[in-house]
Symmetry: D2
Subunit: 137 residues, 4 copies
Amino acid sequence: MTVATTTFHVRYAETDAMGIVHHAAYIVWFEEGRSHFMRQINFPYSQVERMGYYFTVVEVKARYHQPARYDELIRVETRIGELRSRGLTFVYHVRRAADNALLVEGFSKHVCIRHDGQVQRIPPELWERLRPHVMSS
Amino acid sequence: MTVATTTFHVRYAETDAMGIVHHAAYIVWFEEGRSHFMRQINFPYSQVERMGYYFTVVEVKARYHQPARYDELIRVETRIGELRSRGLTFVYHVRRAADNALLVEGFSKHVCIRHDGQVQRIPPELWERLRPHVMSS
Amino acid sequence: MTVATTTFHVRYAETDAMGIVHHAAYIVWFEEGRSHFMRQINFPYSQVERMGYYFTVVEVKARYHQPARYDELIRVETRIGELRSRGLTFVYHVRRAADNALLVEGFSKHVCIRHDGQVQRIPPELWERLRPHVMSS
Amino acid sequence: MTVATTTFHVRYAETDAMGIVHHAAYIVWFEEGRSHFMRQINFPYSQVERMGYYFTVVEVKARYHQPARYDELIRVETRIGELRSRGLTFVYHVRRAADNALLVEGFSKHVCIRHDGQVQRIPPELWERLRPHVMSS
């Protein structure tokens, strides 16, 4: 697996007065995309936290192509864009499931920290689990 | 079908600094519960809106029993509690899927309006679709 | 002071596809109302948490009268409805500042707990600070 | 005025299980920053919409330096980074008011559209109002 794909319906609360999904909702969907990625490699992020580590967000970017609307079935495709000793980047493509149209694309950069905020190496057992899924360039 | 059941994972964005799901997130889950209910009876709420009607919320109540946590699989059970000519009440039970524990229960009362805010009778084709699913008392 | 009043503008993200404020946003505004209340009595809730206590939410209710819209100035009035040894109830009135119209009213019930979830008495120094502000019946 | 500055307290709902403000909340704060900017130049965005125009979001980026926490007073500084005939870019600096620390910086790119999604020139009366506030390079 290089791409983890999760689907869900647009919630009404995620829409705004333009009648479309609010742009901040996609940032939450990105996060759900990487949560799903971690579940798919059998290393759920909740387990990362139980080990005392966090993937804190240091950067996020999104480009908006087409709007999603209430009740549409959405597909979020999540990949690892880059894996380094102390951090990683997830890359996202949000599509409308009905016609596969690309709605939004983006990425999030993360640094591995302990709860005190100190930057750490990604623990080896996790790093080994992530490595096979890095996109080949 | 009297109960529509939908499942999803807790999103990280739905947690708060207590380490548990924020209490307002359940109100959004209630809404997703009734969206799912409408999809299950083949009358999605997006179709209600395309017909020019809205089920505006006039009251909502929630009782919180146990907290949900990030990544847990959640099950929302949605029923119609009451169906009247100009409105209806949905009843919700939010459970942790792993052990079926009741986390939160609540209801939302809705009135059928047109976009101008005028109260309307629920259109007959929708009312007939809803009626068989009303909880027997 | 019996009533703590806070004002803010409706954020675009708080609206939904009906063109009005989403009903779950008011639950967040209630919370901001009680945060403001606690700041006004010089016992901010952040201090309560630093002491190791939480006012966990056990019940919330809202009745919706009129919708708020993007950019409107909102006023939230927060009172203590009931104060008991191990919990309290906040009561809220959300108004449109321009004409004082009542938009939404509601309450939230809280129980005082420690982080392990054990119910506790409200610590005396906090209880004494809250008591003068309880609504007389 | 080149910089519009707005302040508010961190809401509890904006925190997450790491005990800090969730990264998507800053995207909403950016939006509140530009809402405030538009109010400051006496051309509130609600008026833009009443004229039939929207500044749809085509790109957003945020870099996270330090976390905000519940109840902290936040200051959002908003500038126009670029103004073009059919769109504009807002630039944001989110600071902790207590010590002026830079927490998050970012930008959002917008295109002017009508409700049908057609790209439009920014209407002249608005463009003239915006132009004096563009950052000099």
